[in-house]
Protein backbone atom coordinates (compact mmCIF):
# COMPACT_ATOMS: atom_id res chain seq x y z
CA UNK A 1 0.00 0.00 0.00
CA UNK A 2 2.94 2.29 -0.65
CA UNK A 3 0.84 4.55 -2.83
CA UNK A 4 -1.86 4.79 -0.15
CA UNK A 5 -0.29 7.62 1.84
CA UNK A 6 -2.04 9.71 4.42
CA UNK A 7 -1.33 13.42 4.06
CA UNK A 8 -2.47 16.00 6.61
CA UNK A 9 -1.56 19.67 6.20
CA UNK A 10 1.12 18.69 3.70
CA UNK A 11 2.72 16.23 6.12
CA UNK A 12 3.01 12.68 4.84
CA UNK A 13 2.30 9.91 7.35
CA UNK A 14 3.71 6.47 6.62
CA UNK A 15 1.50 4.75 9.16
CA UNK A 16 -2.25 4.86 9.70
CA UNK A 17 -1.73 3.64 13.24
CA UNK A 18 -0.79 6.38 15.67
CA UNK A 19 0.28 5.45 19.17
CA UNK A 20 0.58 7.07 22.56
CA UNK A 21 3.55 6.73 24.88
CA UNK A 22 1.74 6.60 28.22
CA UNK A 23 1.22 3.78 30.70
CA UNK A 24 4.18 1.60 29.69
CA UNK A 25 6.34 -0.15 32.26
CA UNK A 26 9.43 1.78 31.17
CA UNK A 27 10.96 3.53 28.17
CA UNK A 28 12.42 0.30 26.82
CA UNK A 29 8.96 -1.27 26.64
CA UNK A 30 7.60 1.94 25.10
CA UNK A 31 10.24 1.81 22.38
CA UNK A 32 9.74 -1.89 21.66
CA UNK A 33 5.95 -1.57 21.47
CA UNK A 34 6.15 1.41 19.13
CA UNK A 35 8.60 -0.43 16.90
CA UNK A 36 6.32 -3.48 16.84
CA UNK A 37 3.33 -1.29 15.94
CA UNK A 38 5.10 0.03 12.84
CA UNK A 39 3.78 3.48 13.67
CA UNK A 40 5.62 6.65 12.74
CA UNK A 41 3.42 8.96 14.82
CA UNK A 42 3.67 9.07 18.60
CA UNK A 43 1.75 11.26 20.98
CA UNK A 44 3.41 12.81 24.00
CA UNK A 45 2.25 14.92 26.91
CA UNK A 46 3.60 18.36 27.78
CA UNK A 47 4.58 18.53 31.44
CA UNK A 48 6.81 20.37 33.88
CA UNK A 49 10.44 19.24 33.81
CA UNK A 50 11.56 17.52 37.00
CA UNK A 51 13.85 20.16 38.46
CA UNK A 52 14.97 18.31 41.57
CA UNK A 53 15.96 15.01 39.94
CA UNK A 54 17.85 15.60 36.72
CA UNK A 55 19.11 12.02 36.57
CA UNK A 56 15.84 10.75 35.13
CA UNK A 57 15.89 9.68 31.52
CA UNK A 58 13.85 11.44 28.89
CA UNK A 59 11.32 9.78 26.61
CA UNK A 60 12.91 11.43 23.59
CA UNK A 61 16.18 9.62 24.33
CA UNK A 62 14.25 6.50 23.31
CA UNK A 63 11.88 7.89 20.70
CA UNK A 64 13.99 9.71 18.15
CA UNK A 65 12.14 12.79 16.82
CA UNK A 66 14.04 12.40 13.56
CA UNK A 67 12.50 8.97 13.08
CA UNK A 68 9.01 9.60 14.48
CA UNK A 69 6.51 12.39 14.11
CA UNK A 70 6.00 13.72 17.61
CA UNK A 71 2.42 14.76 18.28
CA UNK A 72 2.21 16.70 21.54
CA UNK A 73 -1.17 16.62 23.23
CA UNK A 74 -2.98 18.91 25.61
CA UNK A 75 -4.23 15.99 27.70
CA UNK A 76 -5.29 16.94 31.19
CA UNK A 77 -6.44 20.43 30.18
CA UNK A 78 -9.95 21.30 31.29
CA UNK A 79 -10.18 24.83 29.90
CA UNK A 80 -9.54 26.40 26.51
CA UNK A 81 -7.03 28.72 28.18
CA UNK A 82 -4.92 25.88 29.62
CA UNK A 83 -5.09 23.94 26.34
CA UNK A 84 -3.98 27.01 24.34
CA UNK A 85 -1.13 27.65 26.78
CA UNK A 86 0.01 24.01 26.65
CA UNK A 87 -0.21 23.83 22.86
CA UNK A 88 1.76 27.05 22.43
CA UNK A 89 4.46 25.73 24.79
CA UNK A 90 4.57 22.48 22.82
CA UNK A 91 5.05 24.39 19.58
CA UNK A 92 7.76 26.53 21.18
CA UNK A 93 9.60 23.42 22.39
CA UNK A 94 10.44 23.23 18.77
CA UNK A 95 9.73 19.80 17.37
CA UNK A 96 6.78 20.65 15.13
CA UNK A 97 3.63 22.70 14.77
CA UNK A 98 1.46 19.61 15.17
CA UNK A 99 -0.76 19.48 18.22
CA UNK A 100 -3.41 17.05 19.35
CA UNK A 101 -5.88 19.37 20.97
CA UNK A 102 -7.82 17.99 23.90
CA UNK A 103 -10.02 19.98 26.21
CA UNK A 104 -11.53 17.57 28.67
CA UNK A 105 -15.02 18.25 29.97
CA UNK A 106 -15.41 15.67 32.68
CA UNK A 107 -13.04 13.63 34.81
CA UNK A 108 -15.13 10.47 34.90
CA UNK A 109 -15.71 10.05 31.17
CA UNK A 110 -12.84 12.19 29.85
CA UNK A 111 -15.30 13.25 27.16
CA UNK A 112 -14.23 16.42 25.39
CA UNK A 113 -15.68 19.83 26.14
CA UNK A 114 -16.64 20.54 22.54
CA UNK A 115 -17.41 24.22 23.07
CA UNK A 116 -14.02 24.86 24.70
CA UNK A 117 -12.27 22.68 22.10
CA UNK A 118 -13.69 24.80 19.27
CA UNK A 119 -12.71 28.00 21.06
CA UNK A 120 -9.13 26.78 21.62
CA UNK A 121 -8.89 25.40 18.06
CA UNK A 122 -9.81 28.80 16.59
CA UNK A 123 -7.02 30.53 18.52
CA UNK A 124 -4.41 27.87 17.77
CA UNK A 125 -5.22 27.72 14.04
CA UNK A 126 -4.76 31.52 13.91
CA UNK A 127 -1.41 31.09 15.68
CA UNK A 128 -0.34 28.85 12.79
CA UNK A 129 -0.48 25.50 14.56
CA UNK A 130 -1.60 22.30 12.86
CA UNK A 131 -4.50 21.50 15.14
CA UNK A 132 -5.79 17.92 15.31
CA UNK A 133 -8.72 18.04 17.71
CA UNK A 134 -10.07 15.22 19.86
CA UNK A 135 -13.86 15.48 19.69
CA UNK A 136 -16.98 13.53 20.47
CA UNK A 137 -18.38 11.43 17.61
CA UNK A 138 -20.58 14.33 16.56
CA UNK A 139 -20.72 15.17 12.83
CA UNK A 140 -21.81 18.77 13.50
CA UNK A 141 -18.82 19.34 15.77
CA UNK A 142 -16.52 17.72 13.19
CA UNK A 143 -17.84 20.10 10.53
CA UNK A 144 -17.34 23.14 12.76
CA UNK A 145 -13.75 22.11 13.44
CA UNK A 146 -13.12 21.54 9.74
CA UNK A 147 -14.68 24.92 8.89
CA UNK A 148 -12.34 26.85 11.20
CA UNK A 149 -9.24 25.27 9.65
CA UNK A 150 -8.44 22.02 11.44
CA UNK A 151 -6.78 19.77 8.82
CA UNK A 152 -8.16 16.58 10.41
CA UNK A 153 -10.63 15.62 13.13
CA UNK A 154 -10.23 12.95 15.76
CA UNK A 155 -13.56 11.66 17.00
CA UNK A 156 -13.52 9.24 19.91
CA UNK A 157 -14.58 5.62 19.49
CA UNK A 158 -15.46 5.34 23.18
CA UNK A 159 -14.21 6.92 26.43
CA UNK A 160 -10.40 7.18 26.67
CA UNK A 161 -8.88 3.97 28.01
CA UNK A 162 -12.25 2.18 28.12
CA UNK A 163 -11.47 -0.42 25.45
CA UNK A 164 -15.14 -0.46 24.47
CA UNK A 165 -14.44 -0.17 20.75
CA UNK A 166 -16.46 1.86 18.27
CA UNK A 167 -19.70 2.61 20.11
CA UNK A 168 -21.33 4.47 17.28
CA UNK A 169 -20.09 3.33 13.87
CA UNK A 170 -23.01 5.13 12.20
CA UNK A 171 -21.92 8.50 13.57
CA UNK A 172 -18.37 7.81 12.44
CA UNK A 173 -19.75 7.07 8.96
CA UNK A 174 -21.76 10.29 8.97
CA UNK A 175 -18.63 12.22 10.03
CA UNK A 176 -16.76 10.61 7.13
CA UNK A 177 -19.48 11.79 4.76
CA UNK A 178 -19.74 15.24 6.35
CA UNK A 179 -16.13 16.41 6.33
CA UNK A 180 -13.65 16.30 3.48
CA UNK A 181 -10.61 16.22 5.77
CA UNK A 182 -9.02 13.07 7.22
CA UNK A 183 -10.81 11.43 10.14
CA UNK A 184 -8.65 9.78 12.80
CA UNK A 185 -10.46 7.66 15.36
CA UNK A 186 -8.99 8.59 18.70
CA UNK A 187 -9.48 6.78 21.98
CA UNK A 188 -11.55 3.90 23.26
CA UNK A 189 -10.49 1.00 21.07
CA UNK A 190 -9.69 -2.26 22.83
CA UNK A 191 -8.28 -4.74 20.37
CA UNK A 192 -7.23 -5.32 16.78
CA UNK A 193 -10.77 -5.94 15.46
CA UNK A 194 -11.85 -2.50 16.77
CA UNK A 195 -9.06 -0.92 14.79
CA UNK A 196 -9.94 -2.96 11.71
CA UNK A 197 -13.58 -1.84 12.00
CA UNK A 198 -12.56 1.82 12.17
CA UNK A 199 -10.49 1.40 9.03
CA UNK A 200 -13.22 -0.60 7.25
CA UNK A 201 -15.61 2.28 7.88
CA UNK A 202 -13.22 4.45 5.90
CA UNK A 203 -11.38 6.27 8.67
CA UNK A 204 -7.96 7.54 7.67
CA UNK A 205 -6.09 6.47 10.81
CA UNK A 206 -6.53 5.29 14.38
CA UNK A 207 -4.83 6.69 17.45
CA UNK A 208 -4.56 4.52 20.54
CA UNK A 209 -2.50 4.04 23.66
CA UNK A 210 -4.07 2.00 26.47
CA UNK A 211 -5.15 -0.87 24.19
CA UNK A 212 -1.47 -1.60 23.59
CA UNK A 213 0.16 -0.41 26.82
CA UNK A 214 -2.46 -2.12 29.00
CA UNK A 215 -2.45 -5.46 27.18
CA UNK A 216 -0.84 -8.44 28.94
CA UNK A 217 1.77 -8.50 26.18
CA UNK A 218 2.03 -4.95 24.84
CA UNK A 219 4.58 -5.85 22.17
CA UNK A 220 2.38 -8.59 20.70
CA UNK A 221 -0.70 -6.34 20.87
CA UNK A 222 1.22 -3.56 19.12
CA UNK A 223 1.91 -5.96 16.26
CA UNK A 224 -1.73 -7.09 16.22
CA UNK A 225 -2.82 -3.45 15.93
CA UNK A 226 -0.47 -2.98 12.99
CA UNK A 227 -2.18 -5.82 11.13
CA UNK A 228 -5.63 -4.64 12.25
CA UNK A 229 -5.04 -1.29 10.58
CA UNK A 230 -3.58 -2.84 7.44
CA UNK A 231 -6.39 -5.42 7.13
CA UNK A 232 -9.12 -2.85 7.74
CA UNK A 233 -7.66 -0.36 5.29
CA UNK A 234 -7.23 -3.02 2.59
CA UNK A 235 -10.78 -4.27 3.14
CA UNK A 236 -12.12 -0.72 2.87
CA UNK A 237 -10.25 -0.12 -0.36
CA UNK A 238 -11.21 -3.54 -1.72
CA UNK A 239 -14.92 -2.81 -1.23
CA UNK A 240 -16.82 -5.35 0.79
CA UNK A 241 -19.79 -7.36 -0.49
CA UNK A 242 -23.22 -6.09 0.46
CA UNK A 243 -24.92 -7.80 3.39
CA UNK A 244 -27.86 -9.97 2.34
CA UNK A 245 -30.44 -11.92 4.29
CA UNK A 246 -30.22 -15.14 2.23
CA UNK A 247 -27.47 -17.35 0.91
CA UNK A 248 -25.76 -17.11 -2.47
CA UNK A 249 -23.94 -20.30 -3.42
CA UNK A 250 -20.30 -19.92 -4.22
CA UNK A 251 -19.92 -23.32 -5.88
CA UNK A 252 -21.35 -23.90 -9.39
CA UNK A 253 -24.73 -25.60 -9.62
CA UNK A 254 -23.92 -27.21 -13.02
CA UNK A 255 -22.42 -30.71 -13.00
CA UNK A 256 -23.85 -31.84 -9.69
CA UNK A 257 -23.96 -35.65 -9.51
CA UNK A 258 -27.43 -37.08 -9.96
CA UNK A 259 -28.58 -34.01 -11.96
Amino acid sequence: MNEDKLVIAGIEFKSRLWVGTGKYKDFTETKRAIEASGSDVVTVAVRRVNITDRSKENLLDYIDPKKYKILPNTAGCYTAKDAIRTAMLAAEAGISKLVKLEVIGDEKTLFPDNEATLEAAKVLVKEGLIVLPYTSDDPIMAKKLADIGCPAVMPLAAPIGSGLGIRNPFNIRIILETVKIPVVVDAGVGTASDVALAMELGCDAVLLNTAIAGAKDPIAMAEAMKYGVLAGRLAYKAGRIPKKLYATASSPLDGLIGS
Binding site: A45, R48, L59, A75, R85, L89, I95, I160, L208
Partner: protein
Protein backbone atom coordinates in the same frame (compact mmCIF):
# COMPACT_ATOMS: atom_id res chain seq x y z
CA UNK B 1 17.12 35.55 44.93
CA UNK B 2 13.94 33.50 45.12
CA UNK B 3 11.80 32.63 42.13
CA UNK B 4 8.81 30.34 41.68
CA UNK B 5 10.06 27.55 39.46
CA UNK B 6 7.48 25.04 38.22
CA UNK B 7 5.24 26.04 41.10
CA UNK B 8 7.87 25.79 43.86
CA UNK B 9 10.13 28.31 45.55
CA UNK B 10 13.69 28.07 44.31
CA UNK B 11 16.88 29.90 45.20
CA UNK B 12 18.73 30.97 42.05
CA UNK B 13 21.62 33.37 41.27
CA UNK B 14 20.64 37.05 41.21
CA UNK B 15 19.64 38.52 37.84
CA UNK B 16 20.19 35.25 36.04
CA UNK B 17 19.11 35.01 32.40
CA UNK B 18 16.82 32.22 31.20
CA UNK B 19 19.83 30.69 29.46
CA UNK B 20 21.85 30.95 32.66
CA UNK B 21 19.02 29.45 34.69
CA UNK B 22 18.84 26.40 32.41
CA UNK B 23 22.58 25.98 32.68
CA UNK B 24 22.32 26.31 36.47
CA UNK B 25 19.62 23.62 36.50
CA UNK B 26 21.59 21.41 34.05
CA UNK B 27 18.70 21.41 31.58
CA UNK B 28 19.39 21.17 27.85
CA UNK B 29 17.52 24.03 26.16
CA UNK B 30 16.74 22.14 22.92
CA UNK B 31 13.58 20.29 23.91
CA UNK B 32 12.10 22.53 26.56
CA UNK B 33 9.77 25.49 26.42
CA UNK B 34 9.81 28.31 28.95
CA UNK B 35 7.21 30.66 30.34
CA UNK B 36 8.24 33.71 32.34
CA UNK B 37 5.30 35.15 34.27
CA UNK B 38 2.87 33.30 31.95
CA UNK B 39 4.50 34.61 28.77
CA UNK B 40 6.38 32.25 26.45
CA UNK B 41 10.06 33.12 26.06
CA UNK B 42 11.37 32.32 22.59
CA UNK B 43 14.59 30.32 22.42
CA UNK B 44 16.31 33.23 20.67
CA UNK B 45 15.57 35.37 23.75
CA UNK B 46 16.99 33.00 26.39
CA UNK B 47 20.37 34.75 26.53
CA UNK B 48 18.91 38.24 26.88
CA UNK B 49 15.89 37.64 29.13
CA UNK B 50 16.66 38.37 32.78
CA UNK B 51 14.73 36.73 35.62
CA UNK B 52 13.91 38.94 38.60
CA UNK B 53 13.27 38.20 42.26
CA UNK B 54 9.78 36.76 42.72
CA UNK B 55 9.29 35.90 39.05
CA UNK B 56 7.40 32.77 38.08
CA UNK B 57 9.14 30.45 35.63
CA UNK B 58 7.72 27.32 34.01
CA UNK B 59 9.99 24.81 32.31
CA UNK B 60 8.13 22.15 30.36
CA UNK B 61 9.11 19.31 28.09
CA UNK B 62 7.66 16.22 26.42
CA UNK B 63 6.75 13.29 28.64
CA UNK B 64 5.00 9.95 28.15
CA UNK B 65 1.32 10.31 27.38
CA UNK B 66 -1.44 9.33 25.00
CA UNK B 67 -4.77 10.95 25.67
Amino acid sequence: MMIILNGENKQVPDNVTIGGLLEHLKIQPERVAIELNMEIVKKSMYASTVVKNGDSVEVVSFMSGGN
